[in-house]
C-alpha cells in the first residue's frame, strides 16, 4: 500500500510538472518570439534559448524541441500508471468496471491540472482520438473476432446496427425537438435539423465501452456478439447520418428536397459497402503479403499493423466508414495470417495487438474523464440534458425489444427476454459520440457546448452507472453466463453428445439451415481463396495432426519444466533418473490419488511407459498435473479438467476467447482427423469380422492399383514396396470401396496406415515395435518428432510409438508432403532433426497389374 501512495504522489507531481512545463513553454514561446522579432538573425539560436548566446553552453534546456513528444509520452505513461493503480486492488474491479474507474481517475487528473493551470490544457482531441487511438482497438476487435459466431448472427447484428441506430437517431432527435417546441427546454437556438444531427451522434453504441464493460461480465456469447457486432457495424450508419445531417445543416432547411434525401440514402449504401470493400481489399493484401514474408520473419508482424492502419486511413480518405473497413480487414485476414506466418510471429501479433488496444482504451477513458473538467464547455440546461439521458435510455429499450421480437420469429433459438433486457441495457455510448460532438462546427451550431456537455453526461451515465450495475443486473436476472459453472460430468458429456447428435441429424437430413451456406462458403473458400491467399506449405498443414500434437507437446514440455523447477531444479537435471523418478512418483501418487483404480491398471501404464517413453511428454504430464492437483484439490477437478481438455468439439462449436486477456489454441482440426480415423477403424473391424475369409486376388490388385495411382500422384515417382500381407488387408478394405469413393481422397490413405495397427493386433499379433518399420513406408516416419524416435537406442530403426502410429499423417496434404521434404517454417527444430535422420529412400513398389477397375 505504501508503494501505491508513493505512486499517486509521483503522479501528482508529474502532472504539476506537466502543467507547469506547458505554461512555461507558452511563456518561453512568447519570450522567444519577442526576441526573434528583435533579432531575426538569431532565429537558429532563438530556438535554443531566449536570446543570442554569449558563451558555449554545456547543457541547455531544450524543452521546445521535444515538448509535444514529451507530453505525449508522459501522458501515455500517466494513463497506464492509472490503470496500474486501479488494477492493484482486485476487489474494487469486481464491482466497478475498470472503465468507470479510469474515467474517475481522469476526473482527478483533470482536477489537478485545472488546479495548476486554471485552464484545461488537455482534453480528448478528436483528431488524436479518431486517428491515433481508435484504429488499433478496431483492428484488435476485427482480428480476434469469433468469425463463426459473428457470421451466424450476422443477420441480427445487421438489423440492429442499421435499423436500430436509425431508429435511435430519429426518435431522439424528433422527441427532443418535440420537447423543445413544447417549451421544456427554455430558450435554445436549435432547429429540427440540428436536433437530428445531435440525435445521430448520440445514437451510436460504442464498441470501446461495450467491450470494456462486457469483458468483465461474461454474458453468454450470443448476447455478447450481437451487442458487440452491432456496436462495430453501426459505424457505417453513424458516419452517414452524421455527414448527411451535417451537410443538411450547412445547406439550411430550405434546400432540402427529395433529391437530397435520396442522395442521403444512397450515400449510406456507398459508405457502408465501400468501407467493407476497402477492408476486404486490405485483408486480401495482408494475406498475400504474409504469404511471401518467409524471409523477413523478424518484422512480419509489423505488416499487419501497418496495413490495418492503412485500411483505416484509406477508408477515411475516401470518406467511407473507417471502422467497417478495419473490422472487415481483421475479420478476413485472421485465418490466413495465422496460417501463413510463423508461430512466433503469430504470437507477436496477438500480444502486440492486445497491448495497443488495451493501452488505447485506457488512454481514451482517462481523457474522457479529463475532458470534463473544463469550465469553458459547461453549459447547463436541465431540460435538455435530462431529457436526452431519458430518451436515449428508453428508446434503446424500445428499439431493441421491437427488433428482436421480429428477429426471434426467424431464429431457431429465440433470444430470451432477459437477454433482450441486457442487450438494451448494454447500449453504451462512449468516446465516439464525444469525438463526433467535438467535431461539430460551432459557427453553424451555436449550442455546441451544450451538446458536448450532454454527450459527456450521457457517456458518464452509461459507462459508469450502467457499467457498475450491469453485473448485478445480469446476476439478478439470471441471464445465461458464458463461463460454465461447475456442471456435472454427465452433463458435460451429454452436452457434447447433443452437439454431435445435432450435427449428425443435420447431415442425415441434408438440409442445413445455415450450415448449407456455411458449407457452400467453405467450398468456395477452399477452392478459390485458400490457394490464393495461403502459403502452399501452410495449406498442406491445415489438417496437420502433427502440428497440433507438436503444440500440445510444447505446452506439456513447458509445464514439465515449470513443475520441475518448482520442485527444485536438481530433480529436473537428473536426466534418466528424473524420468524414472517421474514414473515411480506418478505411480505412487496415482495410487494415492485414485485408490479405486485397481493396481493392475497402473502396471499397464508402466508397460506403456517402457514401450514408449514418448508418452511422458504428453500424456503422463497431464496425468501428473492431474495428480499434483489431486493432492491439492479434490479429485473432481482433475476429471472435469481432463474431460474439458479432451472432449471432441462438434463441427458447430469452436472455442473462441474474446476477452482482452485470454487466448486459446484451436485444436479441432486434429480432432476431426481422430474421429474420422476411429470411425473408419470401427467400420473396418465390423467389416473384417463379416468377411474374414474372403480374399480374392483380383480385389487385391484393384486396390493396389488404385492405391498406386494415388501414391504415384502424391509421391511423384517415389515408389513403394508393399509388403506381402498388406495385400491381405487390402482385401478386407475392398468391401468398403463404395463408400470410399464418396469420401475425399484422404480416406484411402487413412486406411492404409491405419490398417497396420489393427491388423497386426489381430492377424499376426506382432507387437514388436522394431518389426514395424518394415511395414511402414519409411518416409512416413519422417513426421515423427525426435523425442519419439529417441525412445529407441538404435536410431537406424525408428520405432514409432503407439501414438505416432495413431497419429500418422493421414490426409492427402500430408501425403503430398511426405515426398517433398518441406522445410517447414513452423517447427524448424524438429523438422531439421528429422531431416538429419532421413532414412534411405523407399524401394519401388511392384508395377501395377493391368486389370484395374478404375
Amino acid at each position: 500500500m505504501a508503494t501505491l501512495w508513493r505512486f499517486t504522489l509521483f503522479l501528482c507531481m508529474l502532472l504539476m510538472a506537466c502543467g507547469g512545463l506547458s505554461l512555461a513553454s507558452k511563456e518561453a514561446k512568447t519570450r522567444s518570439s519577442q526576441t526573434e522579432t528583435g533579432t531575426h538573425n538569431t532565429t537558429e539560436e532563438g530556438g535554443h534559448g531566449a536570446g543570442p548566446i554569449t558563451t558555449l553552453p554545456i547543457v541547455t534546456w531544450k524543452w521546445d524541441h521535444i515538448s509535444v513528444q514529451y507530453l505525449v509520452a508522459l501522458w501515455v505513461l500517466v494513463c497506464w500508471l492509472c490503470k496500474l493503480l486501479i488494477e492493484a486492488n482486485h476487489n474494487v474491479t469486481n464491482y466497478i468496471p475498470e472503465s468507470a474507474l479510469l474515467i474517475c481517475s481522469g476526473f482527478i487528473l483533470g482536477g489537478m491540472i485545472w488546479g495548476a493551470d486554471k485552464v484545461q490544457t488537455f482534453s480528448l482531441n478528436p483528431t488524436v482520438f479518431f486517428y491515433f487511438l481508435l484504429p488499433q482497438i478496431i483492428l484488435d476487435s476485427g482480428y480476434h473476432m469469433p468469425n463463426k459466431l459473428f457470421f451466424t448472427n450476422l443477420g441480427a447484428i445487421l438489423i440492429h446496427a442499421v435499423i436500430g441506430t436509425c431508429w435511435n437517431a430519429a426518435s431522439l432527435g424528433l422527441s427532443l425537438w418535440g420537447c423543445h417546441m413544447g417549451g421544456a427546454m427554455g430558450d435554445l437556438d436549435i432547429g429540427l435539423l440540428q436536433y437530428l444531427l445531435f440525435g445521430s451522434l448520440m445514437a451510436a453504441v460504442d464498441p470501446v465501452a461495450v467491450l470494456a464493460v462486457f469483458d468483465q461480465v461474461h454474458v453468454n456469447e450470443v448476447l455478447f456478439i450481437i451487442v458487440f457486432g452491432e456496436s462495430l457495424l453501426n459505424d457505417g450508419v453513424t458516419v452517414v447520418l452524421f455527414n448527411v445531417f451535417d451537410a443538411f445543416v450547412s445547406l439550411g432547411g430550405g434546400r432540402i428536397n427529395a433529391a437530397e434525401i435520396i442522395k442521403g440514402i444512397v450515400s449510406f449504401f456507398v459508405v457502408a459497402f465501400g468501407g467493407s470493400l476497402v477492408g476486404i481489399a486490405f485483408g486480401i493484401l495482408i494475406s498475400l503479403l504474409t504469404r511471401c514474408t518467409k524471409n523477413i520473419q523478424i518484422i512480419e508482424p509489423g505488416f499487419i499493423f501497418v496495413m490495418g492502419y492503412l485500411s483505416y486511413l484509406t477508408a477515411e480518405m475516401l470518406s467511407l466508414s473507417a471502422i467497417l473497413s478495419t473490422t472487415f480487414c481483421g475479420v478476413l485476414c485472421q485465418k490466413y495470417v495465422r496460417a501463413n506466418m510463423d508461430e512466433s510471429s503469430v504470437q507477436t501479433v496477438k500480444y502486440a495487438m492486445k497491448v495497443f488496444a488495451n493501452g488505447s482504451e485506457t488512454i481514451i477513458f482517462v481523457f474522457l474523464g479529463i475532458s470534463a473538467i473544463d469550465k469553458v464547455i459547461w453549459v447547463w440546461n436541465t431540460g435538455f440534458i435530462l431529457l436526452t439521458v431519458f430518451f436515449v435510455f428508453v428508446y434503446r429499450f424500445i428499439g431493441v425489444f421491437f427488433l428482436q421480437w421480429i428477429l426471434n420469429r426467424y431464429r431457431l433459438v429465440p433470444v430470451e427476454l432477459m437477454d433482450m433486457v441486457i442487450m438494451s441495457y448494454g447500449g453504451l455510448r462512449g468516446a465516439v459520440a464525444y469525438g463526433l460532438a467535438v467535431l461539430l462546427d460551432e459557427k453553424k451550431i451555436k449550442e455546441k457546448n451544450l451538446m458536448i456537455c450532454t454527450t459527456l453526461i450521457v457517456v458518464y451515465f452509461t459507462v459508469i452507472l450502467q457499467g457498475i450495475t450491469m453485473k448485478p443486473l445480469v446476476m439478478w436476472l439470471k441471464v445465461k453466463r458464458a463461463a460454465v459453472a461447475e456442471v456435472s460430468l454427465l452433463e458435460k458429456i451429454t452436452n457434447k453428445m447433443f452437439n454431435h447428435t445435432l450435427v449428425a441429424i443435420e447431415d442425415i437430413s441434408g438440409q442445413i439451415g445455415d450450415n448449407y451456406f456455411r458449407s457452400k462458403w467453405r467450398h468456395f473458400e477452399e477452392k478459390w481463396m485458400t490457394p490464393f491467399l495461403m502459403k502452399p506449405s501452410a495449406r498442406k498443414k491445415q489438417d496437420d495432426v502433427f502440428d497440433v500434437f507438436h503444440q500440445l507437446n510444447l505446452k506439456d514440455a513447458m509445464e514439465y519444466v515449470t513443475e520441475g523447477e518448482r520442485r527444485g531444479s536438481l530433480e529436473f537435471v537428473r536426466n534418466d533418473s528424473a524420468i524414472l523418478d517421474f514414473k515411480k512418483k506418478l505411480e505412487s501418487e496415482y495410487t494415492e490419488a485414485m485408490p479405486d483404480i485397481p493396481p493392475y491398471m497402473i502396471h499397464d501404464d508402466g508397460a506403456m511407459f517402457t514401450m514408449g517413453r514418448d508418452h511422458i511428454p504428453s500424456v503422463s504430464l497431464e496425468m501428473h498435473e492431474q495428480t499434483m492437483k489431486a493432492m491439492r484439490e479434490p479429485e473432481a477437478v482433475d476429471v472435469h479438467h481432463l474431460l474439458d481438455q479432451h472432449l471432441y468439439k462438434s463441427r458447430k462449436q469452436y472455442r473462441h476467447g474474446f476477452s482482452r486477456s485470454d487466448f486459446k489454441i484451436n485444436r479441432d482440426e486434429k480432432e476431426v482427423q481422430e474421429i474420422f480415423q476411429r470411425t473408419m477403424r470401427n467400420r473396418l473391424e465390423s467389416f473384417k469380422s463379416a468377411k474374414m475369409g474372403v480374399s480374392p486376388p483380383k480385389t487385391l490388385v484393384k486396390y493396389s492399383k488404385k492405391e498406386q495411382q494415388e501414391k504415384v500422384k502424391t509421391k511423384r515417382g517415389n515408389k513403394h514396396t508393399l509388403p506381402p500381407f498388406t495385400e491381405l488387408i487390402m482385401s478386407l478394405v475392398k468391401s468398403s470401396e463404395d463408400e470410399i469413393r464418396s469420401f475425399p481422397k484422404a480416406s484411402f490413405l487413412v486406411f492404409f496406415p491405419f490398417d497396420f495397427s489393427v491388423v497386426l493386433k489381430i492377424l499376426s499379433g506382432i507387437e514388436n515395435p522394431a518389426f514395424m518399420p518394415d511395414l511402414y513406408p519409411t518416409d512416413l516416419l519422417q513426421e515423427i518428432p525426435p523425442w519419439l524416435a529417441e525412445g529407441e537406442p538404435d536410431s537406424s530403426m525408428v520405432a514409432p510409438s503407439l501414438r505416432a502410429q495413431a497419429n500418422l499423417p493421414n490426409s492427402p496434404m500430408e501425403m503430398h508432403r511426405l515426398g517433398l521434404l518441406p522445410a517447414s517454417t513452423r517447427s524448424t527444430d524438429t523438422k531439421q532433426m528429422n531431416n538429419d535422420q532421413l532414412p534411405p529412400p523407399p524401394t519401388p513398389p511392384p508395377p501395377p497389374p493391368p486389370s484395374g477397375h478404375m
Binding site: L412, V413, V487, S488, L489, L490, E491, I493, T494, N495, M497, F498, N499, H500, T501, L502, V503, A504, I505, E506, D507, I508, S509, G510, G513, L552, M594, D596, M601, I602, D605, S618, V619, M623, Q626, E635, A636, D638, V639, L642, L643, H646, L647, Y648, S650, K670, E671, E674, I675, F676, R678, T679, N682, R683, D738, E739, S742, F743, P744, A806
Partner: protein, 164 residues
C-alpha cells in the same frame, strides 16, 4: 421429408439400411455417428421405413414452449422427456434401461481424443457415475439421468430448425 428419405434411400427399396447412412460423409466425421445410426434401427431390425424415420426425426422438433399443458406435452415426441429418452438411448446400447459403467466408458471412448489413456477414461466414467448415481447401484437409470440434466436446456440443444 419424404424427398429427403428418398434421397437417402439409394437403392430405392423403400427403406433405409445401414449402408445408406454410411454413405453420408459427415457421419464418419462424427464420433457418435454409429450410435445415432443405431438409434434409427430399433429393436434389431435391419432397415428403417419411412414412418420410423420420421418418428425419430420428430424427436428433434423444437419444443413448443407456448403450450403449457403438462399432459399434452408428455405425448409429444418432441417434449423434453422424449428428447431425454432419446439421448438416454444413445448411451444405453443394450436397452436395459440403465447406463452401466461399460456403456459410459464406450461413449467416452468414442467422444474423447486419443490422448486420453484408459485410466483417465475409467476415472472419468467413475466420477460421472458417482455424481449422478443416487441409489448407488453403480449405474445410471433414466430418472437419475433426467435429474442430473435438469439444469441443461435440452430444448435448444436438441432441436433442428427446419423440423418445425
Amino acid at each position: 421429408m419424404f424427398i429427403l428419405f428418398e434421397s437417402l434411400d439409394r437403392d430405392n427399396r423403400g427403406c433405409l439400411s445401414p449402408d445408406d447412412f454410411e454413405a453420408l460423409g459427415g457421419l464418419a466425421m462424427n464420433p457418435i455417428g454409429g450410435r445415432i445410426m443405431e438409434a434409427f434401427f430399433s429393436s434389431g431390425q435391419d432397415t428403417v421405413d419411412f414412418s420410423s424415420f420420421v418418428r425419430i426425426l420428430a424427436h428433434f422438433r423444437p419444443t413448443d414452449r407456448n403450450r403449457n399443458k403438462e399432459g399434452a406435452q408428455q405425448e409429444l415426441p418432441s417434449s423434453r422427456t422424449r428428447k431425454l429418452k432419446f439421448a438416454f438411448q444413445l448411451y444405453d446400447m443394450d436397452r436395459d434401461g440403465k447406463i452401466s459403467r461399460e456403456e459410459l466408458l464406450q461413449v467416452l471412448r468414442a467422444m474423447l481424443g486419443l490422448q486420453v489413456t484408459e485410466e483417465q477414461l475409467q476415472s472419468i466414467a467413475e466420477r460421472a457415475i458417482q455424481e449422478a448415481d443416487l441409489d448407488k447401484d453403480d449405474a445410471i437409470s433414466f430418472d437419475e439421468f433426467k435429474k442430473s440434466l435438469e439444469k441443461t436446456d435440452i430444448d435448444t440443444k436438441m432441436s433442428v430448425s427446419f423440423l418445425k
